[in-house]
Subunit: 343 residues, 2 copies
DNA sequence: AGAACAAATGTCAGCGCTGTCAACTGGCGC
DNA sequence: GCGCCAGTTGACAGCGCTGACATTTGTTCT
């Protein structure tokens, strides 16, 4: 084990490359106006000294932070995927990702956000749903003038980009699948209010039903909060309806799993007597039998795009270029064993 | 919307409180030697100006970073829980958590780690298994003299604390439960090598079997990598054994779920013909029917303790106080429907 | 009251880097 | 040969804060 060297400084690199620190700085920041030969010499020195610029110093001098914040309400598989994608994208641009859970129920959110943002001088923020629609968070971020990207917001923010997916189309397609399997009475599990996914997925379902002139029995539409326990409760109500549906389309996989679970307890055979479809392609979707037909979101891709929007934006620092980008990604239907012909 | 103020500086606070910046600094850092009356005046000024110290400046001047790194290999529910706990603890001490996925298969890990550590000047690092045993990561961290806490390492690092759980005892207890339900032929699904959990859980299982003078049929012991698909493969081998076991104890819930899934496909009734036990109390454990008997890890608690170890250690900066702390937490058995009397 | 000391506060330089702007270099046209 | 300009490079201050040390203030004891 070698004795621990102190980290190299820009001055040391400059000395070794026979240039001024400023020129080294230019190279580090990929600024133009450095002769190739000089650049090469400097890069060499950097390599030899194994130099890493000190982020604190860079940030202080340049009024930057190299930090992007990722705010989320509840952890879960979605977060994992998203985080992975976002970190990857950040690393490609020499940025770092700061994760921050924010209890949507807490009254101290504004304080928390403001604190983080101003202490860390975040260069951008990404809001995961349902935070993307939280007025307090939005306001705190706006006040601090932090460029923000909203993921799947219900109301598109006028002055910030958002990224979302065509949940409506996917839900419509999935419903069409159910219809083509002969299902006519179809139960639906809504997500909690305040999520774009909740409204879009239902709309897609309704689109498909109405296109076939089928009516939706309100008794078969139940609201859960995207979690297993309420999925159970929804399923109880749907399967306890006067006339039991032959299929259930749940707004997410956890609730779909709950439907499958309850059906099993009730001795209902899957998919013989009941078909079930979910949404999100969560791990649980392929961990139960029969596996859940579901819709896959390109979460990592969404994350990369979100991070990218912030990174691309950075140079301007204030106000997004016209027009504000709002990429919308397509989803992928995944048909699996939980959907079969209607009995 | 008010015009966006520039963030307050320590100088502004000092002026308003009629003291020198240094005294304000003392208050911010909770240093002793400030009269109560002065402190109050300063705190007042801070509040009025809504002042937040600039982390970059603090870090640069004080040779700190206020950052702790959390390194992990694969995301998952464990990570979510851990991250939540760790962030909470960090916030309590004015620190921040930097998450960093590290592909255990990648050859650039040393570079990645070194880069992060030196750019960010991390004040500490937490290694999640199986990274806690990765020699390259350990070396990179050691070279940079970053205080590190290892979570559930197979080999305890001589000079760093570790946090783990008594998996062996818990596995023994779970096995005893199976035995008391009358099971004698019990299959076991090992985790991948390189995890403490893998060895400890098996040892606990073996402890209990041997205590009853029962032998373990090697054909019923299969290795997976903690993921559902191999769980399926393991289950296929175990359930395809010449003499099928009446119970399976899987080293984690994903694999246990796979056993349940396969059993169902094979028409084996749970828990009537086969009992299944898992480990970790992952979400999936309560999302399938019958729900999995499992072992709950206090993941958040572990995370808090790990962060705490780093935070407590910080003042010394080099070398841990004697002796190196190695807290070990107890686990909680959760018996659920997947375990029943042997047929 | 004055000395002697502890407590409280201040002064000042500098952490490692970048923004601003000045200075230098070489090539070109006339 | 001179002026001029674009292309390069450097000098220098200062980002906001804290460490080391100096100074002032308050307290206690004789």
């Amino acid at each position: 084990m070698s004795a621990r060297r102190e980290p190299a400084t820009i001055q040391m690199v400059a000395d070794r490359a026979q240039v001024s620190p400023k020129t080294v700085s230019r190279v580090i920041n990929s600024e133009p106006g450095v002769r190739d030969e000089t650049r090469a010499r400097i890069l060499d020195a950097i390599r030899q000294l194994d130099y890493q610029p000190n982020l604190n110093a860079r940030g202080l001098a340049g009024a930057r932070s190299f930090l992007i914040g990722l705010f989320y309400d509840k952890p879960g598989d979605y977060l994992n995927e998203f985080q992975t994608g976002a970190v990857q994208r950040c690393r490609e641009s020499d940025l770092h990702l700061m994760v921050q859970p924010l209890d949507i129920a807490s009254k101290e959110m504004a304080r928390d956000v403001g604190m983080l943002v101003r202490q860390l001088r975040l260069e951008g923020a990404i809001l995961l749903p349902p935070l993307s629609d939280h007025p307090v968070v939005r306001a705190a971020l706006a006040e601090a003038a932090v460029p923000t990207v909203h993921i799947a917001p219900v109301r598109e923010p006028v002055d910030s980009p958002s990224v979302d997916t065509d949940d409506r189309a996917a839900a419509r397609q999935m419903t069409v699948q159910l219809l083509e399997h002969g299902h006519r009475r179809i139960g639906f599990m809504l997500g909690p209010p305040g999520h774009r996914a909740t409204e879009q997925r239902y709309l897609g379902f309704a689109d498909a039903m109405h296109a076939r002139a089928l009516s939706i029995d309100p008794e078969l539409v139940q609201t859960g909060n995207f979690e297993f326990p309420d999925g159970l409760e929804c399923a109880r109500r749907i399967l306890g309806a006067r006339s039991r549906p032959t299929a259930i389309f749940a707004s997410n996989d956890d609730m779909a799993a709950a439907a499958a679970c309850l059906a099993r307890q009730m001795g209902i055979e899957l998919p013989g007597e009941l078909s079930i479809a979910g949404f999100d392609d969560a791990p649980v979707a392929s961990m139960i039998w029969p596996q859940l037909a579901t819709v896959r979101q390109p979460v990592r891709e969404i994350a990369r795009i979100a991070a990218d929007l912030i990174i691309q934006h950075r140079p301007h620092r204030r106000g997004w270029p016209q027009p504000i980008p709002r990429p919308r990604l397509d989803l992928e239907l995944i048909m699996r064993g939980s959907v079969g012909p209607a009995p």
